[in-house]
Amino acid sequence: MSKRIVHYINQFFGGIGGEEKADVRPEMREGVVGPGASLAQALGEDYEIVATIICGDNYFGENIDEAVAEIMEMVKKYEPDVFVAGPAFNAGRYGVACGTIAKAVAEQLEIPVLTGMYEENPGADMFRKDMLVVATPNSAAGMRKVVPVFTTLIKKLANGEEILGPAEEGYLERGIRVNYFAEERASTRAIEQLLRKVKGEEYHTDYPMPVFDRVDPCGAVTDVSKIKIAIVTSGGIVPQGNPDHIESSSATRYGIYDITGMDTMSPEDFMTVHGGYDRQFVLQDPNLVIPLDVLREMEKEGRIGELANYFVTTTGTGTSTGNAKAFGEEFSKKLLADGVDAVILTST
């Protein structure tokens, strides 16, 4: 019996349409659709793509819980040996959708999953720790190049074979530290690499320290009395009861909450869920994190032009850079659309 594969793709690769069709709901088709054809051909006759699920990226992004539930039902029916999503190349929303659904399948159905993305796809940082993400070029023009990488990994996953390192297999490093026996002991390797470093040659570390990218500063605002300002915080301020269940640390969600008509952050209305500090002071006075009281005064005095009628919030502590980046990318679009000219970001 051949091994069964279910393939997830978006509306574009499914041939339904581009951005204008990004809100289509999940649908399932028997057999191969779009990029699945080249995979099926390369996989040969012992493997079969039994079904293809197509979903609009916007529908997925805006209705995550429903989309995941619907797709999960479809996948279940086919009892696949491997679930493949994408590849999403450099498409951000598609990448996040592939990662989200693949993660859900892996966790809930305990089926091996595989996806593929360009390294700078925001979905890559969000999900590379959770699954195999094949490193792809930044556009679909590179599909042919990654087909063999996909097929090798699909076969290994289907048969439960050992997955080698990222360099050998062509996936994005998951950050899992795996032991092996090196040819030379560490002292010998250290001397070799140190001499390279001393000579100014290229050298190789076994354990790269985290690196941080930078962005060039935006130009200054000429006159704050003429602009619209929004407040963003990583201080975990949420409405009483935490309606969106933002986590106290390692947040996977952020919230946008209305402050229309409020002159101050009342402790009756707001609380903090942040797990990274002693909360007693902020619980009594949330203005300590969201300075609404003074910003309202300034708005009335004309010191600032206008205050946006909401604030954006999440918890900073332990939150992965991948998640923080994805949050930022998402709400920045809203800020832009709402005509926000500058942001005051507060952290504890």
């Binding site: 899992i176 530290r177 032991n179 090196a182 002292s187 010998t188 140190l194 470093k197």
Partner: protein, 428 residues
Amino acid sequence: MKLELGKIFIKDLQFGGETRVDGSTLIVCKEDVEKLVMEDERFLKVSVEIAKPGESTRITPVKDVIEPRVKVSGNGGIFPGVISKVDEVGQGRTHALVGANVVTVGRIVGFQEGVIDMSGPAAAYCPFSKTFNLCVVVEPREGLETHAYEEAARLAGLKVATYLGKAGREVEPDEVAVYETKPLLEQVALYPELPRIGYVHMLQSQGLLHDTYYYGVDAKKFIPTFMYPQEIMDGAIVSGNCVAPCDKVTTFHHLNNPVIEDLFKRHGKDLNFIGVILTNENVFLADKERCSDMTAKLAEFMGLDGVIITEEGYGNPDTDLMMNCRKITRHGVKVALITDEFPGKDGKSQSLADSVPEADLLLSCGQGNAMLHFPAMDRVIGMLDYIESQIGGSAGCIAEDGSFDAELQIIIASTIANGYNHLAAKGY
């Protein structure tokens, strides 16, 4: 300073009437060893057993491992300030019984001592699975205070190793290695064209079961200092700690420091090995600042182009490691770090407890959280009573037949952070 190290390769270990080396066999008089250990009134009882590579034998709980050595000529004696009188060592000739070790066994405290398997999957991770081990299993008198017992066990191992070493005094070694380091100015002038490399050796020094001794001095009581690499080969440094079995630097590993050995292999060829800076790992943050300032100052003062830094233990020492790295780098000296990793259950967490951007060259000695199955063994030297509570073990991990699953951490020196092993970790 010049030391000739004569290596006598030992390929078998047997009990016999008189302690001697016969060809490549070390014959040990069991009674003499027992008598020697029992001279210390703090012990209630001792048993001496032999473990050989390939046997179905498990040794646990292990405290220290010591290679027998003897001073044939030159100043001082082995383990100065501890067994021999305080006197500078590192000159002349020393003989080592390579392939034989003394292993001290017994419960010191209920958690820190590790496991050596003489065969099976765990043997691949432990250097002492491949050596002939004379196991000295000690038991203290009732009510003996922990510090006193730790000291008694430490000394027992060193005494037995010194006693065995004497059997090699008159034996013609199979191989003689010569190690020479000249005083700073001469050494620098000897190979003016080669990069000047030093070694920053961090010694565990926090308290009970976390101490190391240099000429008998508790390492937390000294400030960073210069050491000729030859001194360490005569036992100037002895281990008094059982931090976690996997990254314990045993006295064997001090005698056979891999960084020093490997630096000498390239000494005069493509580097100029200038010497060793000894420093410590203290509890006080102010001490850490002070000592890392001083190592950086010494590295600069010695005119080094590059240093290798090794640490012992996880957590707190990572902070010393990073401070040393940052400050030495800022003094214009290039740095390579050697350490082991603890990335947690799924291998995905941060491997180290501290980090600085200057730590851009780090060589891994493997990760200690990986799980391994330890099959049952026919024979146990020591006792299995503590496996569940030993580091790397867990409640209920041991089966009735004596097999168990545990983290690599439980194996003595499996991820030792001085670079002795071939085990390494990479990103998957």
